[in-house]
Symmetry: D2
Subunit: 496 residues, 4 copies
């Protein structure tokens, strides 16, 4: 059985040591092993990155960018193989894997803008004959720790930006679906990155803790669940590193009565159940304002859900595939059970879904629950499964209050035709990414991705303009060339 | 005896409770008491800030800025009174206090640019018929904790920027010299800030810890010594807050043989001894490259130091005044003793300085030490006194290596006429603020202030553009207005 | 009788020579004379500006900005006197003059941002060891030619921006109402501008042509009517100067059926009749979509217009005052006559308005005309009077086509609650300044003002960010410091 | 014999009509014919561009950019064929053609940044509940007219930027060497541009005048000689179009005594003679400060020039090739004659160069002239040939005065090691593109290209950030959503 290894200093390495099985969630079978890096292996990756740094930080940004141009070409040429690996190990249907990869490629496109993004600010004559400018210099070795749900995209949120800023990188991807991540990193290498600039180590907590404690690592980017994000953030910052740690979500849509209901339903179905709801931007709660809107919504949603097909990644006519593990499958079902016990109405029930020929796959069918209350466990926690819950509110203000009081603040959306409602919502909602009739308001690659409240720890968002600031240090230079004919006087006062 | 109190919700409050003496360092006498806020007092300030937030965040940035325009006028009109308070409690000579205040006013000027600084990024057609834009919204209640050495300026690095971004503020200034800080905050109030937008609490660790632990405080800015900065940063971030914590420094100047030596000496005298060296940008080490340069430098420096006058703040013909406390005076003398014991040469000795009529003042005279080695305690630690140490290096590379290996990376400078040397130095030196023939390269208010390495913990620098990013949260809105004639299709793939 | 003269090189000068009467339009009487500068006088102003340039371009931007801070204070302190002069010579009621001045002050506030606005772009390592940066340097002597309708505001669109960029300025304001303009320029002088940095010459075509032909004048900004704008633009550019020339307008509002009609009417009344319609952003045509909306609009508008008071500037309870000259009064009445003759319905007729005690004033009352057709003269041309014309359209598309086919493209507006309609309108309408439920969409001072089509000739808009670009020249510096140890090889190929 | 035709609406067209021979300057023979477009042909190109505009302006910028990514790939794949065509028709040696193409590709890379470059400015709460934003919308049909000396690069300065802004384009390239330009446009088409978005018409004054007068053409970019630039600029602007017209140059280098003379000579040889001096950034005058520097420079330059090889494009060991036409060859020789007659010293004489086997080619050898005076014709005019003239000055100030007094202000350079000299020079020299030890300071693609004085007519420079502003119109939208519960009051004053 194949073992997925590491990419260190430009070479694939397996290391002898601990491994862990990688499943095919569509069948429930183990398909590969993944190597779990020891502390020593991670340190060798850090050392390779450290060694590659001086030459890489001196490479002109335009030349760094040119490697990203080539990387984009290679990603496009290898899309099919990448999507296949995502499907095998994550369970995504090919159209969904393709969407993920395309979003990742857009981050590579953004990285191609390096010379523009790295421009500093220049001021002539800050004082008489004095000039001053600020540059954005790289940090050195930086690390990324990424989740299973977007094995292609989330790493591409991080290292293209970090690398074009002049940093070198150590990536610790999810050990659940490591193969597409590794292939993509190999393509980056093939595109022209010098050895050591990008390193991938597969592993578990040992690898993570090595990255969090090694003094050579200057910054850590993380995407995952909120409890781990908190641990990463407090540990990394305590060790004097920069950190941005993105956590969980509970994304609500508000539906007003004036919304185009057919459109809203069409949007919500995809946003709630796509990728089995295993997205931090999945739309998992819909707040209908007024019973008329609620009833209409539930009715149309129920109808729309009849057509949904759940099944293995390999059949592209499926709408979505299995969950990532059996344990997660059980956990999602448990949330549906708890909602039922708490008195909510299970309108469409995906707990008993059976996929012929794939009985051991980790499937849960699309589920719709009505009359959910804020006090229920299924409302409070992130389910990360194909479960859409309906809450009924009597006013837009009440609906907004629900959202503002939730601990998470990643994404949200409103469906309406009314300009005033949209404006009020977008201004006052305490959520970082807001959609107006857009249920998955993932910012494009040239804006940045970041939630509020307990969905993100750190000052700066992921990818886009914020990532350039995150991966650089400001250096400000003040310059005066004294004329040799002039002898300046001693100045004791603070210069003004 | 007067007690300096707090400014909470627009009103001066003293509270009954603990107090601490405030000294006049020029005479060594106690001149006032300062109230030390209890947890409850700090919480009332936070509550006032929290209550003021909703209306303030909705106030147009242009109107917020207009208060800053008025604030600038009031600061200029009250400059004399402010400088007098600085002198009394800190010991700065009036020309130096005036310089400090002027730098602070420049930060208020920068805050007047609010409408420009808060512009977000707008993208038409991120997809067909879809628009997207990013805004920079305020955080809520934010806090600042500031040091004794710039009681007027450092608070003005923080709250004008925070406030024009729409935040409300709680300031905990140094309890050693609280009066100028409080007067300035009252002027901000008089300029038109609504009650609760800016609050000042005097206090000690109890106040600091209340700010670090209260969940309503969203972000903390700190300037002080490195050990405290580390504590602030790890505690604030562990509690889920943003934090920027600026710490200590050991700023080196390199002097090359081709430098205009008279100019270099003139600059160094001011940069080393101004404000008794109690500046985080004070130039405390000079690295002379080559013995010829070193000898010439020491000779000219010794001559220049003859003219220096140390004495009370009230005599503006003095070059610099006393240190902040008797304990600090002893500590500085101890560093000179240790250098002597370690084998360095005390060329000019300020340990025995006597100021007639002010024998109890906390004075140390300007001190020059030659033949200092990197292994000496006096080299490793921040002295924060009027002591300039000379290290001799045999090459520019060796001089740069000294700087790069020091734990601090706040400011540095090179004296040369050579363009290539200046460029190489500014590119490769691992320090955040770099001077070319400028010994105190404090960035102007429209750039940002921040050291590297253990001189700053956090992602973003103080004041200037970085402060606007620090005091705001990015919110990205994606908007589509579906035509009622169009029924969009369900989309399961991740949108690309 | 007083003669209004020039401000040249910091001094008021009258010159003996031609003069022209200045009227008080509220009474119809001549109140002053204005000097009309000869070619020689204008040339002396240009010479003063040229002489002041070298020192002013070397003055740090922060110091230039500080004069603008002071200028703002002086404008606020002298607001009453300025508004009185505007009223006397232009006829504006004090609340309207105050609004104009406030807008002008906002441009001065923007000029205070100089250090931020003048930042250049800096790129480290455009090639190995090569740095490159772009600066925005001043042009030299630049000129402004401004209209009667905003004697305070329009000059403040121009010279604060030009001056903080380091240019020196010659202003040729309208000779109809020169006094407020001159007073304001004197206040700028008092704020600290060195003599010659700002010069004002009153005059007519002789003055204008001197500015257009003198080779020392580097750029010309103009606001006025389209035929003159065209002349200015083609003459200035033919002489190798930069030019931006803002001309006429015919601003349409579209009113959809879903609009809040009371609000729309309230907004339209002010936007159509304020300042007697003598604004290039006046709303002079309203296109009602559907007869229901049209009928309701005309009915409510007619009712609202009953309350309007027309009269002299000195009575602040008036809504608007007289037109600028008797000739213009006749011209406006003529347009109403022509509409009547062409078959439109005069719903409210302002032609016969009589103001008791001011029978010789140049008054025309608020006029509403319905059933106007695009073929009518009154529709095609700019009336510049208190005349609102209603056109009826059967669809939003048809309404937009009307606007897109008109030769002017200054401002426009839509009244609706519908997000989709607003988005489609703002994206596709061929007009430079667009309001959504905002009838006078004059951009704030930190955006820029500019129409499309024959409303603006030139690349860059007035005030705001564009004005900084207009008043500066880009200079790009590429720098390499060759190591003396390295002998570069000859390179014949074009560097890449 | 082949006829080079047009690319209109996605198709190659020849049209029957006038033609003109295309020479191979290396042999002096006619190699092809080029079609000269009639007015009707140009109008059909404009019509195609006009028809393609509405759909193209609605295409998301990210999709437009993606075509540029593909275009870059195709240019790299076809580099050899392009360089061959450049060589055949222009005479450039392959390494030089490759450098030109690479620079052009860099402009395509810049165009890939479209989504970032087109971001507008967004302001929340410009007033209470009012938002405002500025967008940069395309102009419509825009035209470019380009010179023979960079048939690949200069068109790529223009249309990639114009097209990614949403405009459609008509290019009129030089009729002397049209083939590489046409091939490159075909590759752009192949990369995915819809038909009509990019059109190429070959032609002469008839074509140019059609573009200058057709009201559908919104803007014209031109690069060529100053007399034509002036004509283009005054004609286009008179017709109400935007225009940027880049003209001639006379680029001076100053050499100070402290310069690394071997490096300076190596740089100057390439900058003066590369591409036979037919570059608007060619270094054609060197001002030596002091006779010591002058003598050393002339001596070393004379030596370095011995090794130069002139010959046909097809031999890549040649340093540079022929001039573009026999007429131009005669003109260049005439300038050398005139310098000789005016008393200058011809140190190295290229007039009699003979290339064996290519006796009819249009060759002039590298020529060095010393003791040139500002009064000589050869100094005043642009020679555009491989002729370097040495002027001797007694001070840096005198050298700078020469440059500042010349009518052109395209590029300039100083050779020195002294930081102060470099700073003073770059700040005060009246030239748009400045090199410090860089003899051809062509800005990189992410800065902009533009001379000062009579080297550029217009407000905005070519390519880079300025080109985005040139090819777009600012539209500012101000939006308020009135609450239906609120009836706003009439407002007559100008809104403030």
């Amino acid at each position: 059985m194949k073992t997925v290894g590491h990419l260190i200093n430009g070479e694939l390495r397996e290391d002898t040591g601990r491994t862990q099985p990688v499943y095919n969630p569509s069948t429930g079978e183990v398909s590969k092993q993944v190597a779990l890096a020891s502390k020593a292996t991670v340190e060798s990756a850090i050392a390779a990155a450290q060694a590659a740094f001086p030459a890489w930080r001196d490479t002109p940004p335009a030349k760094r960018a040119r490697i990203m141009f080539r990387f984009k070409e290679l990603l496009e040429q290898n899309a099919k193989a990448i999507n296949q690996l995502i499907g095998e190990e994550h369970g995504k249907i090919s159209h969904d894997a393709g969407g993920e990869l395309q979003r990742g490629i857009e981050n590579v496109e953004y990285a191609c803008y390096a010379p523009e993004l790295l421009k500093g600010e220049h001021s002539r004559n800050t004082g008489p004959g004095i000039d001053s400018w600020s540059e954005f210099q790289p940090l050195g070795v930086v690390a990324g720790i990424t989740p299973f749900n977007f094995p292609a995209m989330v790493p591409l949120w991080m290292y293209p930006a970090a690398i074009i800023c002049g940093n070198t990188f150590v990536l610790k991807p999810s050990e659940r679906d490591p193969s597409s991540t590794l292939l993509i990193a190999q393509l980056a290498q093939e595109a022209g990155l010098p050895p050591g600039v990008l390193n991938v180590v597969n592993g578990d907590k040992e690898a993570v803790d090595t990255l969090l404690h090694d003094p050579r690592v200057q910054a850590v980017s993380f995407v995952g669940s909120t409890p781990i994000a908190e641990y990463i953030y407090s540990t990394a910052t305590k060790n004097g590193k920069r950190c941005q740690a993105l956590g969980g979500a509970k994304n609500h849509a508000i539906v007003l009565e004036d919304a185009d209901m057919d459109n809203a339903v069409a949007q919500l179905v995809g946003a709630a159940f796509g990728s089995s709801g295993e997205r931090c931007m999945a739309l998992s709660v819909v707040v209908a304002v007024g019973d008329k809107a609620a009833n209409q919504l539930v009715e149309k949603m129920t109808a729309a859900m009849q057509a949904l097909r759940t099944g293995p990644y390999s059949d592209s006519s499926n709408d979505f595939g299995p969950l990532i593990t059996r344990a997660h499958q059980e956990k999602v079902k448990g949330y549906i059970d708890s909602a039922e016990q708490d008195g909510a109405s299970i309108i469409v029930d995906g707990r008993q879904v059976q996929v012929a020929g794939y009985e051991q796959g980790f499937y849960v069918g699309a589920t719709l629950i009505d009359h959910v209350k804020p006090s229920m466990l299924s409302y409070k926690e992130e389910i990360f499964g194909p479960v859409l819950q309906v809450v009924r509110a009597q006013s837009m203000e009440a609906a907004m209050q629900l959202i503002n009081e939730h601990e998470y603040g990643n994404g949200t959306c409103i469906f309406t035709r009314d300009g005033e409602a949209a404006r009020y919502f977008s201004d006052h909602i305490q959520v970082g990414m807001v959609g107006i009739n857009v249920p998955l308001p993932v910012p494009v690659a040239y804006h940045s991705f970041g939630g509020w409240k307990r969905s993100l720890f750190g000052d700066l968002s992921a990818y886009g303009p914020d990532s350039v600031r995150f991966y650089t240090r400001r250096k400000t230079i003040t310059q005066r060339w004294p004329s040799s004919a002039v002898r300046e006087q001693v100045q004791f006062a603070f210069p003004s």
